[in-house]
């Protein structure tokens, strides 16, 4: 074995050590996150309640629990919320890493294809105008509006960029910007004519992103969409790697990018649409987490994707903890926290010498 082989092994040893460390940190953070919040619940009791809920009553007893409301807070409010934070953090980082490869642009994020503005328009419309009297729509109104808006705009972006030939990455980005601007102006129009201060406030709040509406009944759909997406894209590392080379080189390596580009865009739109429908717009995570991981592990997607998922989950877990505890008795929109933490991190990465987008 030459010294180079040893070095290569050493590098992958380092990688796996970090991955295990991240998984450990996520577990500890999740437990910690469940135990703290606006209502002070003793750590021992929150553990007992959590064990009891997770094992369906086999482990952990509720005998020492002082207050019945603790049970509800832990099992019905905080636990689904922690799961939401983890899943959405994973999903946003996943979509960010994929979109950056798809459009071959380090500035891409999950919202780049006009998904954000489409979802905003849908949500704004649902809040201020409504979809009529149907029971289904009035219950699901905002989520449905946001999801529909996200999907419709990303299809529009796809179609627009495919007019007159192949959908190149530049055409994709430009179409995303154009459709985004169009949706933005329609949203403004709806807000301008709405005579509804309460509604406008909730539109603003929605646009800042929040995990406050997390609940167990929403977990299955989110979990299935995000986890399936993760599993799928983890297996696509070869295609994602050749995407970095551009169309021309990818064809000579046997991969027709325009097909994969469309497929990936539809999949990320579905994942992002679902996340946006449940939690609003949580900015910066999908942009910064893949970059952070590139700086640490390089651009090879075989390593980048698992790392991005774990770092993204951990990042949003902690953003959520901060959003609940930073200001007493206030549940801050999580989008504010992610941007406040994210921007300095990003500035550090840009200023730090030698960051080459993953070398």
């Amino acid at each position: 074995m030459t010294s180079k082989d040893i070095r290569r092994r050493g590098a992958s040893g380092f990688y796996f050590a970090i991955m295990f460390l991240l998984i450990g940190l996520i577990l500890i953070s999740a437990v910690f996150s469940v135990s703290i919040g606006q209502v002070r619940i003793p750590f021992g009791q929150s553990m007992e309640i959590m064990l009891h809920t997770l094992t369906g009553g086999h482990l952990g007893s509720l005998e020492h629990v002082e207050n019945q409301s603790f049970l509800t807070i832990i099992s019905q409010v905080r636990m689904p919320r922690v799961l939401f934070a983890l899943l959405i953090g994973m999903g946003l980082s996943l979509c960010g890493a994929v979109m950056q490869a798809v459009v071959q642009n380090p500035l891409a994020d999950p919202y780049i294809l006009g998904i954000s503005s489409g979802a905003s328009l849908g949500a704004t419309f649902a809040i201020l105008v409504g979809f009529g009297g149907g029971a289904f729509f009035s219950q699901m109104g905002v989520a449905f509006g946001a999801f529909a808006g996200a999907i419709i705009t990303s299809i529009a972006v796809l179609v627009l960029s495919s007019i007159g030939g192949k959908a190149t990455s530049v055409k994709l980005v430009l179409s995303g910007v154009v459709i985004g601007a169009l949706c933005g102006s329609f949203s403004s129009l709806v807000i301008y004519f709405a005579n509804n201060a309460e509604g406008i406030k909730s539109v603003t709040f929605w646009a800042m992103g929040s995990l406050a509406s997390s609940s167990w009944d929403k977990v299955p759909i989110l979990a299935v969409v995000v986890l399936l997406g993760c599993a799928l894209f983890l297996l696509q590392f070869r295609v994602l790697n050749t995407m970095l080379l551009g169309d021309e080189s990818a064809v000579t390596l046997g991969i027709n990018l325009s097909v994969y580009r469309k497929l990936y865009m539809i999949l990320t739109a579905l994942i992002t649409g679902t996340m946006v429908a449940y939690a609003g717009m949580i900015g910066f995570v999908g942009l910064i987490v893949p970059h952070l991981c590139r700086g640490l592990f390089g651009s090879d997607h075989k390593r980048l994707m698992p790392a991005s998922l774990l770092v993204g989950g951990l990042f949003l877990l902690w953003s959520d903890i901060l959003s609940r505890t930073l200001v007493h008795n206030v549940d801050l929109p999580i989008g504010i926290i992610t941007s406040v933490i994210g921007s300095p991190l990003f500035i550090y990465m840009i200023v730090k010498k030698g960051y080459q987008f993953g070398g």
Binding site: K4, S249, T252, I255, G298, Q356
Partner: protein, 253 residues
């Protein structure tokens, strides 16, 4: 492996860029494609390696019908070194060369010991072993092009297409790259700008003008004053270089 392209027509927008071009490369031959900028050399090559779809014509690699076969199957036999292109993201040299194994891999197949050996051999052939862990973006143009060549060698192609591979490179890299490709002893079709290089390395030449084959034959037959003047609109005298004993050119406007 033998390449036969017959009657290729390529239209981009409303313009016919390549008109009825036929080219044949016999097994192990190094065939050059010369002609002025914009004459359709690159477009023709793109039509062969499936980056563009020709309106008419057939391309065969031995028995393989290139235009009606999947990209993956074609890329297992055909390697391409293109013009230098920029990337927004970075990879290490080793990762970059490892991408050359992509055509031979199933979706979930891991990189095996065999692949590492092939990549190491490709790096050795291109004198890049010491560059393994360097970042691709930090390399000079000539070094980057060598990495691309190493990637194509790791692809283990039975035929190689070069599209002006030595553009912007200094003389040492030009010689290194062409000699390395020549040493592979596989069929090669290369678009070249430097006529002396073409004369030295190629067994056979096709001169392309305005999307059509203007002349073809051995370098001595094609590279005459008359043909060069007709192709490039410059005055040209050919002579035997007294030092190298090879065909040389003196140009003037």
């Amino acid at each position: 492996m033998e390449l036969t392209a017959q009657g290729i027509d390529i239209r981009l927008g409303k313009k016919d860029i390549v008109k009825q071009v036929s080219v044949q490369v016999k097994a192990g031959q190094f065939v050059g494609l010369i002609g002025p900028n914009g004459c359709g050399k690159s477009t023709f090559l793109k039509g062969i390696y499936k980056s563009l779809v020709p309106q008419k014509g057939t391309v065969f690699l031995d028995e393989l019908d290139v235009l009606n076969t999947t990209e993956k199957k074609v890329s297992q036999r055909l390697g391409v070194v293109g013009q230098f292109n920029e990337m927004s993201f970075d990879l290490t040299v080793h990762q970059m060369v490892m991408l050359g194994r992509t055509p031979h891999k199933k979706l979930l197949e891991a990189d095996k010991q065999e692949d590492f050996a092939i990549v190491d051999e490709a790096l050795a052939r291109t004198n890049l072993l010491d560059y393994k862990d360097r970042s691709y973006q930090s390399l000079s143009g000539g070094e980057k092009q060598r990495v691309i060549l190493a990637r194509t060698i790791a692809q283990q192609p039975a035929f190689m297409i070069l599209d002006e591979p030595t553009n912007h490179l200094d003389i040492r890299y030009q010689l290194e790259i062409l000699s390395c490709v020549k040493g592979l002893q596989i069929g090669v079709l290369a678009a070249l700008h430097d006529l002396e290089m073409a004369a030295h390395y190629c067994d056979y030449l096709y001169a392309v003008k305005e999307g059509q084959v203007f002349a073809h034959g051995t370098p001595e037959e094609v590279l005459t004053s008359g043909t060069i003047e007709a192709l490039y609109h410059v005055k040209c005298q050919t002579y035997q270089n007294p030092v190298t004993n090879r065909l040389s050119f003196a140009f003037g406007l």
